[in-house]
Amino acid sequence: DAMVIQNPRYQVTQFGKPVTLSCSQTLNHNVMYWYQQKSSQAPKLLFHYYDKDFNNEADTPDNFQSRRPNTSFCFLDIRSPGLGDAAMYLCATSGHWDGETQYFGPGTRLLVL
């Protein structure tokens, strides 16, 4: 089945220690998104790629970076995680930027010690 896969499902890191979360998709979608979701909050878009074009949301901290080496894979790098970065990180895809349906992965729960 076509899907969005996120690894790992749970990630523990230390305060200030860089961490990378990964996402892959078999849907062959042009657009890949990274969201941050804290408990009982709405998913908050951090950035998205339309093909190789990177688009950062205005309020995404510089501490968050992303890479998309090919259509299938996208990475979220947190350069110096703080306690406030503990959250669920969701990867999603859509066929187009104005794509009407977003397909989400299962998420990676990040814990910062």
């Binding site: 909050q41 998913p43 998205h48 104005d98 349906t101 977003q102 299962p106 998420g107």
Partner: protein, 112 residues
Amino acid sequence: SQKIEQNSEALNIQEGKTATLTCNYTNYSPAYLQWYRQDPGRGPVFLLLIRENEKEKRKERLKVTFDTTLKQSLFHITASQPADSATYLCALRGQAGTALIFGKGTTLSVSS
């Protein structure tokens, strides 16, 4: 400022009843509105999309209405089952080219 509000954080109903969830928005003129289901510790799953020129959309036991005058969407689950227990998120896109914005969600609990 622009806001999406899902009017209750939690809704508890008995099996077999109809659950009605509300999504209100201000300062948006969305071309469409979507509803997603999110189970604990999982990513959201798309359920339904309704366009601004549609009043109602149905899918099996689900029904969505969209009132652009009231700036409100209602999401109904008829003959609810314990398996329907989850958080339901509404989402809309403001202007073309802007990001999809999600509400915080309403957590539905259906008891048997």
